[in-house]
Amino acid sequence: MYHIQNHRVMKSMTVVVVGGGVVGFSTAVCIAEALPYCSVTLIADRFTPDTTSDVAAGILICSPFPDIPLEQQQRWFKETIDHLLPIAQSEQASEAGVFLSSGWQIHKELPADKVPFWSAFVLGFRIMTDRELKRFPDHKFGQAFTTVKCECSNYLPWMEKRFRKAGGQVVKQKVNDLQELSSQGYDVIVNCSGLGAKSLVGDSQVYPVRGQVLKVQAPWLQHFIRDGEGQSYIYPGMHSVTVGGTRQVDDWRLEVDPEDSQDILERCSSLEPSLSRARVLGVSVGLRPSRKNVRVEREMVLLGSRQVPVVHNYGHGGWGVTLSWGTALEALGLVRKCLHEVRPRARL
């Protein structure tokens, strides 16, 4: 009756990941797969389909954070797309909800960077031709490319499976403070709590940027359209087309705002007139866990009588899916450093 069944490998270190969104699961999978001597537990109070990630369209596009070296952000983007592309091209694609998506990003004014920092990592990036731009008379400039779309309603269950296969354990539980985790004796705590970091670690720099989106039935649409900095967008997906959006800073409302819906439909129909005839399937709201700079770093936190290493990985704003794997690998590196500093434990 005492046989060690599921975890036959001796686990000498315990890591707990807080957060069940795309960042939490990516980080947990990275650690569990790379460090087989670690016992990894993911704890969250909400799981798919109730996470912020489930509201995200999941298209790989990004704006830079101001104070993080661009090379690092480039690496995060590249690592994420390099991780997702093979999935999109495998038999797993539909189960994982990962596939290629082509379309246009259009600008009313000439952008400061005609070529975004991630342009080399998407496929076939080019400046739009005048002929292509002709249908967008209000827009002066555009970029065409093929990128990856990663739908979290599929991707998260797929990642959870992968995590469990690597020996990970999943616990549904609200974590109120880090002390709770420390008293359960975890060696390293990984904080992927997104907006939850505000209360979990008292970070006043993290704030919500409210996003409302509609799912519409428009199977004739094959190309995405994103206007400028993403005020309006149309992303064809597996089962529906996501149209959006809003960027309401410090707005905590999770309820649907009918005026927002109306506004979104008007803006998107002006870009894609056929949308005015599309049936609306649903409306959802997510609060982007925003921060001036995403926080991927480690610190030692005094919990009770014990210094516990904590690795933070949160504050991705609207780029959680886009940077998920890259920042997860970064966090993995930080967890490794923590484990190096954890001296071998004395044995009773």
Binding site: I4, Y37, Q184, R306, P344, R347
Partner: protein
């Protein structure tokens, strides 16, 4: 209850002073060495790769295990017997193994006890002593498998349950450790009445196990078991050292090291000559960042049982934490050479513990002597023993 026991830990009485008085400069030295090592990312990368390779190999052996390699008879699946055991057909192998274990000749006690089991695989007592001996021999995986086998044959063996709880705690398997302690209470005639009316805890082990797999039980079960042990302690007129040991383990699981120290000290007030308890006290102090006091406790354990390899290993770890890398390396080397004294004709590296080698490499890496580190990498114990002026 603890004040008098704490007195026992005064520095004057245990010597250790030569090491401790140098703490100040050692700490500085440690900080310097630590900074140097941390900046050497290449070193850490290599170390990491090595560790991962080790883990990967464990994967492989674990998987191979399913196919029952030739050295494992079908009855003893999971335990790796020495392939070339001179005591295979030894008469009175158990009695002699038991004696050797008490004397502290752990490697040969292991061989004798394995011999006893090969002669009678159903000998639960032999499995029990093999398990506790392997734990003292710093071989936790073997200890766990042996104790589990003992408990299959004799499910209410209290000593085996307690020893298993300790070994599981050491390997980070908190939930299973907690369950073993709950079982210990359930099978203990002195305490089983405490479980009356607590059906979810008193239930059959099978259903207990199923439940614990589900999810959030983790922290709440630990709390409940801890409360039961505390309740039991309150009801006792005299200190029960076994109960206090269980409490000490539970407080280790929840990282309440000061409380665990109190529990082990209470147990020691009844059994002052118990070297296992001294080591448990030491390990608890060390894990609670009280390395200086830990050194004293290990020193006591080793005075009582010089061949106690686990305590020697622990002492080495505390030396690392105190910045005494040379002393740390000496202790690890002593432990390894004791293990090598095994009369098994198997290759000597198979009788030595991987984690002692790993700890030795950490200590050597901080001494900035690459040739020694290299020697540890290739497992050249003779060269290292000579370099540290240790007798073989």
């Amino acid at each position: 209850m603890t004040a008098g026991v704490a007195g026992r830990l005064s520095k004057e009485r245990f010597g250790g002073g030569a090491l401790l008085s140098r703490n100040q400069s050692l700490e500085e030295e440690f900080e310097r060495a630590k900074a140097a090592v941390e900046s050497d990312t290449e070193f850490w990368d290599k170390m990491q790769a090595e560790w991962e390779e080790l883990a990967r190999r464990n994967w492989l052996t674990e998987n191979e295990q399913a196919q029952t390699p030739s050295s494992v008879s079908p009855h003893e699946k999971g335990y790796y017997f020495h392939t070339d055991n001179p005591y295979k057909d030894w008469p009175n192998a158990f009695e002699e193994g038991f004696r050797k274990s008490k004397e502290g000749d752990l490697p040969n006690a292991v061989l004798l006890l394995e011999g006893a089991i090969l002669q009678d695989p159903q000998d639960s007592e032999a499995w029990q002593v093999l398990g506790t001996t392997q734990a003292e021999n710093e071989n936790e995986q073997a200890a766990i498998v042996s104790l589990q086998r003992c408990l299959e044959l004799h499910p209410n063996n209290l000593q085996a349950l307690m020893a298993l709880a300790v070994s599981l705690t050491n390997t980070g398997m908190r939930q299973d450790a907690c369950e073993a302690l709950l079982c210990w209470l359930r099978h203990n005639s002195k305490y089983k009445h405490l479980l009356k009316g607590k059906r979810h805890l008193a239930g059959s082990p099978g259903s207990q196990r199923g439940m614990s797999r589900v999810s959030t039980v983790g922290s709440s079960q630990l709390l409940e078991v801890k409360e039961l042990f505390l309740e039991a302690a309150q009801h006792n007129r005299d200190t029960d050292p076994d109960l206090q040991t269980g409490l000490g383990v539970l407080f280790n699981i929840s990282a309440e090291f000061n409380k665990a120290v109190e529990a082990f000290n209470a147990a020691l007030s009844v059994r002052p000559e118990d070297y296992l308890l001294w080591n448990r006290l030491g390990a608890t102090l060390a894990n609670g960042d009280r390395s200086e006091e830990a050194v004293e406790a290990y020193t006591r354990a080793l005075e009582l049982q010089p061949g106690f390899i686990r305590s020697r290993y622990n002492l080495g770890i505390s030396c690392i934490n105190l910045g005494a890398h040379r002393e740390a390396a000496s202790n690890f080397l002593t432990a390894l050479s004791l293990q090598r004294k095994s009369r098994s004709r198997q290759l000597s590296h198979q009788v030595m513990s991987g984690n002692i080698w790993a700890a030795l490499r950490i200590a050597l890496s901080m001494m900035d002597q690459p040739e020694l580190f290299q020697a540890a990498n290739i497992g050249d114990l003779d060269l290292l023993m000579k370099a540290f002026n240790l007798d073989m």
